[in-house]
Symmetry: none
Subunit: 237 residues, 2 copies
Amino acid sequence: MTAIILCNPQMGENIGAAARAMQNFGLNDLRLVNPRDGWPNESAIRMASGAFDSMPTPTIYDTLEDAITDLHYIFATTARTRDMVKSCFTPEEAANESHKKTNQNIGILFGAERTGLLNEEIALAQAIITIPTNPNFSSLNLGQSVLLMAYEWSKHSNQVTPAVEQEQTPATQKDITAFLKRLESDLEEGRFFREENLKPTMVKNIQNIFTRNNLTEQEVRTLQGILSALRGNKTRK
Amino acid sequence: MTAIILCNPQMGENIGAAARAMQNFGLNDLRLVNPRDGWPNESAIRMASGAFDSMPTPTIYDTLEDAITDLHYIFATTARTRDMVKSCFTPEEAANESHKKTNQNIGILFGAERTGLLNEEIALAQAIITIPTNPNFSSLNLGQSVLLMAYEWSKHSNQVTPAVEQEQTPATQKDITAFLKRLESDLEEGRFFREENLKPTMVKNIQNIFTRNNLTEQEVRTLQGILSALRGNKTRK
């Protein structure tokens, strides 16, 4: 289980964006510590595009300590390198690390929009996550930071299914060879191979164009049709 | 070089969010195809939080084809599995793949907010990227999708470029388009398209055969030669 904990979030919009990002990537446990504008919050609900309908209600706490009592391992997200001796991970490393901790409850802390996490908040975490950004343009907002974290976490989750491969029937080698033979003979007739000694290389190069892209049965039929159309015209004249 | 191409973006805010995400993660080449609200755009500039000050001015195009002439390998981002046979990558796989193609100009296409990329836009790409999301809550907005892509791309930006493949010069999209246009017109003449209403789908399927295998410059010349040989015969008669 992984919980997202927003410490003193200021804008409802960012809470909504965080919820939306969590739902996009299969995280469900949102905890709010002392949200400035209270809870529930209209702006949050508007920004969440329905995310709150499909996840448990966020839980609200007065203090960060209260919010993390059931957690075993906590990451603090921070943009700046801090003068603290803790393990420091990229989001990817943190997700990998977290995934190894089977049966542990994991928390990821995010600070207030203006200040980020305070040192005393970071002190409660076991490790730090820093998102590597362009040093000349490093500002990520709260919603974006949660999005990137949830995205990395989802790579280990089964709830998020990758795009499915096509179920088109691939062409057999026999179909492809038949097409290539016909093409070769048509090209022969069209005096494509000007120099006999270069022909084997040219044939090989042409084969290469059509063999390396996993043609489907239907595509080979299309290519056959193309040959007929291009050549057939000649016959018809 | 990697370009982010927004096809028919509707909201200035999303263009601004895309620019900001690009700058966060070190991408600089933003191309806009036919932005609905014109360019420059106040909402975009406001949303970009200064990103436009530190990157080259976005370039504007009337058509997607114009926007990709100098590119060698193009990814189309799409949420749905399409009935098209192309390589399909996660953002991470695509970034890895892209990183191997040293000296190639890479493009990542994003569709309009409401519709996503159209099939004829996707047909111009060599491969598809799908961000794996929670199937029950999969809507990512344009800015978020660009953010995730730029984030994955940035993982390679500090790393030493590996020794790589490809001594062959890849074809530009311009070369490929020229070949496809000629093929289409030859097929038209050869009465390949029996039914006018099926033509767009057939053209798209044919494009797909030739765009997904990363043709080299030499191969496109060979394909042009093949067309001449097949058709030229007719002329000579």
